[in-house]
Symmetry: C2
Subunit: 338 residues, 2 copies
DNA sequence: CTGAAAGCGCTTACAG
DNA sequence: CTGAAAGCGCTTACAG
């Protein structure tokens, strides 16, 4: 009954008599023995946990990512060491360092977390996967929402319904989702007709910024026929201002958002928007990091895109017929790198 | 430059020449050396991380708890090992066991996690704190929302506004929040007047169950003057059914919820409800477990209650004057045990 | 099939 | 002020 033998039965390594095995199991049971994870990690070099770094651990958006990650991790018997990295790069560095020896791999979403940053601060023998982050270089795999495709699909939809002057209320300039959505809008304006013109107003994803943007739009000589907000909260602020000014939606102006937050279908009129499958993003990223943990270091990296969905409701003047379709998958593709 | 000396400068233990210290620091910097957490944990017996077990890691409710826990943990430089324990007690046992050697303390919210359960499955030298769970015995500290006080305050409010027949749509029977809210309702009915009568309908916290309960209420000979739902989603389902039946709220029947979810103030009429400060619960519980980690094992345990807040909006027929007050703190108390 | 021994990477008395 | 050594609790070749 040496520690070696106990270790063997606990880890199911065979080469143990049935008799000794049952004897050990009985004692284990009686003493409620549970192996110490830290010791096990030290000797095996494995922790069975994945570190997850997000800008925040809460809110609609991150909560959904966590949900996807959690479900995928649970399927694989992996633990999650979560950390919210609010803002500063210095904080991100500390968080990453603190993970050494605690995790087998890292899942990270952060404006600072490009490959160079990771190479600098994270042990290069530990795999890392980026989520929804600007990818530079191909030393790490990454999973991104198709924000760009979603924005393009929305502009196409608005143009199809007949709107020409389509304004865009942007999000924060240092936010990856926001800049991708803006880029998609610009691309689509250029692509879907010479009669479409870019018109971008500043915003910051807040309800407040949507409210202000709408007020400004209302003072214009030539009002846009449609307003596409970089996210739903901004669109809601917009709607508020429009209501106050007795401007009918979608009668006088069409309104669209991005995210499909729960509120979107409760407001009046229900908001046409783009659904972003955060949980799916999280789940796929977890699967990606799990694969990387198991794979040899030289495995090629890839960048994968998670499709977004156009959700057509009443706020853009689409015909009931079109709305009946309700949801159309609009995007999604894979690209392999390195 | 032995490992011992390096260890001393890294941990700032003094007794090192300025010269050797700077030399070591320089090398540490150049090699980007970061101590291995698993090894450190093994030798110090400390992990600087708190394990957190919640029924789920996502959704409005848990997301807010996580937010509070995260903020408090960050203030103290503690890491969080999060685990969602969906349902089964067996799963909870596994999750708890897997934490051994990984955490200095445990924060847990689960219907199964009473003191007896913890004593059975969690090392007794590791402190644990319960959140919003039925407390039996006093071997563990616990932090609970004052669901009972919140429900009582709501009934009192409804009675004050003039309602006599106040129905309650209950939540799941095995849910601690739900049973406490029901208990508060019953207590208050008994307390605030002989002319008040208990009338409880089944429900399960879902919008659907509120919808059905309302339909049933509408068939009654003597309709209630007020309906108090065990949570906001149920109240919303109720509102839906009432709207369909063209029963005016609050004109024909008053409606109240519990939770104060974001939607509550967006529906029409805005919903009178009870706000539950989940983030505060999480933060206080984290502070509690942090204190327990530092304290000697014999430190007395305590049960603390986190106050809830009555939020008066338009759905219950309260006068505008009363509503102007908008929010009234209604409850909150401390009780020390053992 | 079983056990003695080394080693995982740290920290911390204990000598010097 | 500094280093050699033991020990934290496991796992895993290696002998037997």
């Amino acid at each position: 009954m040496s520690t070696a033998t106990v270790s063997r039965v606990i880890n199911g390594h065979g080469n143990v008599t049935h008799a000794t095995r049952t004897r050990i199991l009985r004692v284990v049971e009686r003493m409620r023995y549970v192996p110490d994870s830290a010791a096990r990690s030290l000797s095996t070099g494995l922790t069975n946990t994945i570190g997850v770094l997000l800008p925040d651990l809460y809110g609609e958006y991150f909560s959904e990512i966590i949900r996807g990650i959690d479900q995928a991790a649970r399927r694989r018997g992996l633990h999650l060491l979560l950390s919210g990295v609010h803002g500063s790069a210095a904080e991100a560095v500390l968080a990453i360092r603190a993970l050494k020896g605690r995790v087998d791999g890292l899942l990270i979403m952060s404006p600072y977390a490009d490959s160079a940053f990771l190479a600098d601060h994270f042990a290069d023998d530990t795999p890392a996967v980026l989520m929804n982050s600007p990818v530079r270089g191909n030393s790490h795999s990454s999973f991104c929402l198709d924000n760009r495709g979603g924005a393009r699909a929305m502009v196409r939809h608005l143009a199809q319904v007949g709107h020409r002057r389509i304004a865009f209320i942007a999000g924060p300039q240092n936010n990856f989702d926001a800049t991708e959505r803006l880029a998609g809008y610009c691309e689509a304006i250029a692509e879907f007709g010479p009669d479409l013109k870019e018109f971008v107003l500043p915003g910051d994803f807040s309800e407040e910024s949507g409210y202000r943007a709408a007020q400004r739009l209302l003072t214009l000589d030539e009002r846009p026929e449609a307003v596409f907000a970089a996210n739903d909260m901004t669109a809601l602020g917009c709607l508020h201002a429009l209501n106050e000014a007795r401007v009918a939606v979608p009668g006088d102006v069409a309104l669209a958002g991005f995210d499909d937050i729960p509120l979107a279908r409760f407001v009046s009129p229900p908001l046409t928007t783009v659904r972003v499958p955060m949980a799916e993003l999280g789940a796929r990223a977890l699967d990606g990091i799990a694969a990387a943990v198991g794979a040899p270091a030289a495995t090629p990296t890839s960048t994968q895109t998670v499709a977004t969905t156009l959700v057509i409701r009443a706020s853009c003047g689409a015909s009931a017929q079109l709305r009946a379709v309700d949801e159309l998958t609009v995007s999604g593709s894979d690209a392999a790198g390195n």
